[in-house]
């Protein structure tokens, strides 16, 4: 009789099915810390930038087109304004527009995505409206944001607040579509039926179960939106329809500096371009690490 045989020791946890890839969780590397530090620095400069700028960022303070020196760390541009001071001061404007337009676009997008996703397959006018809105979100996706930006910004006028509104409206469809896709996935899950069976009102089911389970992609996408928003602000400034000069704004600074760059004077475009790239890249690196860590 083998009843004395001890049962084999149980493994500590149930192994995952072998075909479902099991990746080791990547550790936060040096790159992540650098990115976080850089982004922190950008945010700090956004708050105190204009205070620590060595020169008046909106005035002519020296001879035009001087290379970087002890007096002008970033040199001067073709009108004689201090590039370094303008780059510092521009941080506040570009980052403020980006942060607020991203928050607004995400909030709006989540609400629209939820409304569309939950009602799309309904019969009757509500369903039709939801399907129409869904189509419209798809269509807007096809049109270049820069072109829509050109028109919408000119409609809203060019002040920081109106730029925020305009960019939020332009970027909202991206977040709405992401949320909608997720809602469509969650909508069939059995726990929603269970919540309905527990006697909860449909609206409560949506707020308590659908919303928390479908916002993740949109939230993870926030830094992408942030990047697009910064680039879009700068691109509009670059095209000359953004904030009017002499407001220190990276895009318009790069546009003005482009002519200098063609004759080898790199600094007037170089400093704002570097600031722009550092901001967008560090945000994007952070998202990437964050996403991989969560999914892995």
């Amino acid at each position: 009789m083998t009843s004395t045989l001890p049962p084999p020791a149980a493994p500590t946890d149930t192994p995952a099915p072998p075909t479902a890839a099991r990746r080791p969780r990547p550790r936060l590397g040096v790159g992540t810390w650098i990115a976080a530090a850089l982004l922190g620095l950008v945010l700090l400069v956004a708050v105190i930038g204009p205070l620590i700028a060595p020169h008046d960022p909106t005035g002519v303070v020296g001879l035009p087109s001087r290379p970087p020196s002890g007096e002008h760390w970033g040199g001067t541009d073709s009108t004689g304004m201090d590039v370094f001071s303008r780059t510092l001061a521009g941080t506040r404007i570009d980052v403020a527009i980006a942060v607020f337009s991203t928050l607004l676009a995400t909030a709006l997008g989540i609400v629209v995505g939820l409304a569309v996703g939950m009602n799309e397959s309904r019969r009757g006018p509500v369903g039709m409206a939801a399907r129409g809105l869904s189509r419209l979100l798809d269509l807007l996706q096809a049109i270049p944001v820069v072109i829509i930006g050109l028109v919408v910004v000119s409609f809203f006028g060019t002040s920081t607040v109106t730029m925020i509104l305009a960019i939020a409206v332009i970027l909202m469809p991206i977040q709405a579509r992401l949320t909608r896709t997720e809602v469509l996935r969650v909508r069939g899950d059995a726990y929603l039926d269970a919540a309905r069976q527990a006697g909860q009102h449909e609206l409560r089911v949506i707020v308590k179960h659908v919303l928390p389970n479908s916002v993740r992609p949109a939230l993870l996408n926030v830094s992408v939106i942030l990047g697009i928003s910064i680039v879009l602000t700068a691109a509009l400034g670059f095209l000359g329809v953004g904030l009017p000069p002499p407001t220190p704004e990276w895009g318009s600074m790069i546009a003005h500096g482009a002519g200098d760059a063609a004759v080898g004077k790199w600094w007037s475009a170089g400093f704002p371009a570097a600031a722009l790239c550092i901001t967008v890249a560090s945000a994007s690196v952070l998202t990437h690490r964050f996403t991989v860590n969560r999914v892995g």
Partner: protein, 281 residues
């Protein structure tokens, strides 16, 4: 808040009278690949707190859709569906009617992986029906949850985990059953509740269902594709194929003298692979 004010009076022993759901010529059609697919066609069925009925049939035979319609989660496209003689639609239209019905009739569905909100604890899921449907306060609801979990042989400590932190479909399925039993329904609808479980766990879950039904004199509507487990639980059997009922009768009748081809195949297969053995009661 409106939800709070309209709580039904606390303690829920409630009316133990007969509860009955009658469906007549029920129909349900889905559109698949632009073609209309009749999931359920002209089905007459009456379930109630006084009977235990099993439904067997292959996948796609419409048995799950039937259970969902009887639970009020899916609307039939045709036919009538009455709850205690009143159209179910009327009941579901008002908040009190909806709660009355949900307290009396609960469905446990087959989906083991998505039957709990991944972001919330299992306790939250099991407690919600006790609070909303029975009007229990938070502490009383927790106590009720613990009681139910105990009868289902689940450690209450496990309830404070999230669904993915509980390993094994068996445990999760017990919580799904607890969520339905916590309101002490008069009729329990089960849709393939053990098919995804390991054999060693199936028996325990089936025993618990049988205990509940016997101890509370509740009704059962048990949907499954396996004959032996279904026969253990119910007095009457319905056999479905392509959305229609092809055979119905008492369990013994059907097991001993299957008429329809499909039923005969199933019974023969069960006989061939199984040993006939009765465990002393």
């Amino acid at each position: 808040m409106r939800l709070l004010r309209q709580r039904p009076a606390a303690d829920p022993v409630g009316d133990r009278g007969l509860v009955q759901i009658t469906g007549e010529s029920l129909e349900k059609t889905f559109v698949v690949n632009r073609a209309r697919h009749r999931a359920v066609a002209a089905v007459d069925v009456t379930i109630g707190s006084d009977r235990t009925i099993g439904v067997i049939g292959e996948s796609g035979s419409g048995k799950s859709t039937l259970a969902r319609m009887l639970s009020g989660l899916e609307q039939p496209d045709g036919g009538t569906l009455d709850y205690n003689g009143v159209p179910l639609g009327h009941h579901l239209a008002s908040q009190t009617g909806r709660r009355d019905f949900r307290r009396a009739v609960q469905l446990v569905s087959q989906d083991v992986s998505s039957s709990f909100d991944p972001l919330r604890t299992l306790r939250d899921a099991v407690r919600t029906p006790a609070m909303v449907l029975c009007g229990l306060e938070s502490a009383a609801a927790d106590q009720r949850v613990d009681e139910v979990l105990e009868t289902l042989q689940v450690s209450p400590a496990m309830a404070d985990r999230r669904p993915h932190e509980v390993s094994g479909g068996g445990q999760r399925q017990r919580f799904a059953i607890a969520r339905a039993l916590v309101v002490r329904p008069r009729v329990l609808l089960c849709d393939e509740v053990v098919s995804a479980l390991d054999v060693s766990v199936q028996g325990a879950v089936l025993n618990m269902l049988k205990d509940y039904v016997e101890q509370n004199r509740a009704g059962l509507f048990f949907v499954s594709h396996g004959i032996p487990a279904t026969a253990f639980l119910v007095d009457e059997l319905i056999v479905m194929q392509d959305g229609e009922i092809v055979e119905r009768g008492s369990t013994d009748e059907i097991v001993d003298r299957p008429q329809h081809e499909y039923t005969r195949f199933l019974v023969a297969a069960a006989r061939r692979s199984g040993r006939i053995e009765v465990v002393a009661s």
